[in-house]
Symmetry: C2
Subunit: 355 residues, 2 copies
């Protein structure tokens, strides 16, 4: 058996399946640094360490040992299927008869990096910036569409001493297509423990990045709180409807509230002039999603909308009004159909966020 084993991003992030596969192998082959990282697991085994490059030769060697009747472990860091040894090996799978192969998945850098940054992922793209085997035009096309899709983007192999152009091109495309304030997380594994930085797209600098860095670029909803990078998925926070909000929505659903700017209100502008007062109380309260400016009042269990002006924008109000009647007809529907409402909120954020 040839085991193509992902050992994960760090010594503790190895799986039981990977440990077993290594234990069952008589020959262990891999890039020098990866082999060194698991040396304690390799007592009594034939160890073949290789330098960087010539991956095909490494895979051929594994096959050769396998055809001699030995159990082989071909080591990959992270996950072997993500720019790792699985892709190398399978270029050769049909070259020989009777090859038995077992791919052991591992934790890949996108998930490892994300775990150290908080919860930055939602739908996401994993893209390698290495243009050694991949044309720059292909990389640029992927970056552009990932940005237009508003996906979170994890960038692998971002830079090396001699290879900076792909990063510069990718950065340019990102600046052209997403907001410059978009949070960016960096996890630099060459430092032990890994160095973690949370910055923004416009403050991102090449100097912060090396070959071992994984970059996570947020989407248009990603925010930073307590130093964590967070991309909300929009889970429902349950909360009773406040009596004043209830009163407002009883009138709202009878079409008795003021639409648009209400300068005659004694509290106007409760946020900032000019503001659209159609949703004097927010129909999504509490959204529990800081991406539009709201926040928890710490230790009080209360969600504050103080810094959220999004609900008072004209384009927001238009978007909500166009769909709200399909979801809610009276004040109790605001509670009953909270999931649908939060989905509408998200739909309108997507619309109003579009660059």
């Amino acid at each position: 058996m040839i085991n193509i084993v992902g050992i994960g991003p760090s010594r503790k992030d190895i799986t039981i399946r990977a440990l077993e596969a290594i234990n069952d192998s008589e020959v262990v082959i891999g890039y020098k640094l990866y082999i060194d990282a698991i040396e304690d697991l390799l007592k009594g085994k034939e160890i073949i360490k290789k330098g960087m490059g010539d991956e095909i030769a490494r895979a051929e060697l594994a096959i050769e040992k396998h055809l001699e009747g030995k159990n082989v472990a071909l080591i990959s860091s992270g996950d072997p299927g993500v720019f790792g040894m699985a892709n190398v090996f399978f270029q050769l799978v049909a070259k020989y008869s009777d090859i038995q192969v077992n791919v052991v998945p591992g934790v890949t850098a996108a998930n490892y990096g994300a775990s150290l940054l908080g919860a930055p992922l939602h739908d996401f793209a994993v893209i390698s910036l290495s243009d050694i085997l991949t044309p720059l035009s292909e990389i640029k096309r992927k970056i552009k569409h990932a940005a237009l899709a508003d996906m979170v983007i994890a960038l692998y192999n971002p830079i090396s001493k001699t290879r900076k152009e792909p990063f510069r091109e990718a950065y340019k495309i990102l600046l052209e297509n997403i907001n410059h304030s978009t949070p960016v997380g960096l996890v630099r594994s060459s430092s032990k423990p890994p160095e973690i930085t949370v910055t923004s797209l416009d403050e991102l600098s090449e100097d912060q990045i090396d070959m071992s860095t994984v970059l996570i670029i947020g989407n248009s909803m990603t925010y930073v709180e307590e130093g964590y990078m967070i991309t909300p998925r929009g889970y429902v926070v349950r909360y009773p409807i406040h009596s004043m909000a209830r009163e407002f929505y009883e009138d709202f659903f009878k079409d008795k509230t003021v639409k648009g700017c209400n300068e005659s209100c004694e509290f106007y502008p409760c946020h900032a002039h000019p503001q659209n007062c159609t949703f004097c109380y927010c129909p999504f309260y509490p959204c529990g999603d800081a991406s539009t400016g709201g926040h928890w009042i710490r230790d009080k269990g209360v969600w504050s909308c103080q810094n959220c002006e999004w609900i008072h924008r004209n384009d927001t109000v238009d978007c909500i009004l166009s769909k709200l009647p399909e979801i809610a007809e009276d004040v109790d529907d605001l509670k009953k159909h909270k999931k649908k409402l939060l989905k509408l909120r998200r739909e309108c954020i997507n619309k109003t966020n579009q660059k």
Copy 2:
């Protein structure tokens, strides 16, 4: 400490870090099925099993136990940062003071599924088809751009008994934007062991998919060989230049070979009429990449181009000719600059593959 622990996709794919975090915890909270899967690890611990849904309540409970001074493990299957409990938890992180959190990454379904299918990933997008919290318009936009980017696409939560529309919409978008013969891999974890299917986009059927299935849609280079789904990254296979190819390229670089269709050749058409004979011998030989039709002659170590007609297409020849002079000036450059040549090949595949 609150440990948000990814237990991976199956019992053996759990990491050492996850085992330690669970071991260190006094309280373990999670969705019933995930807790059952790790029951043997939980002796003597306070176990709180919850049903599906109300994720916020589960996170609140973890925080409550943590604030009582207990070590808590909040369990997620796969990776907690991919549509998992990390995103839930971080909606609440700023609600309380003195919360200490530790996210333990795990192997996510895209990597697990890929490991069972072969090596289907290259640059890839992970997209959830669940429209419970996410508007369908957002999902469709992501699918479309991922397809236009020619990324491999991993689809999570593809279908449920009552939720089929997002899959149908996504499928329609894929059919409109990528080749119908694109390989699709399915890994259905509700079966034990997981049921693995490799099919093509046009033969994909809703009946093959359930809630536990991860779908991996190939890119334009993905091919199927020996039942494995393989997306080539294009590693260099080294091989001496054949004497006849050498002779041809000595003439080629002196501009002494026939360009275009060479009907007067005694072997014409060596592939199929009409064919462009400009590259009578392939400058990329052996590419070791079956996506254009070549294959290994088993156990002979020889790469056969018999079924590859790509090099004899007019658009391919035009693309190669436009850039080849930048890379190679004589026959030895074909060997010396193999990486650059394979990159050019890939660039031209991208161009000629575009739907």
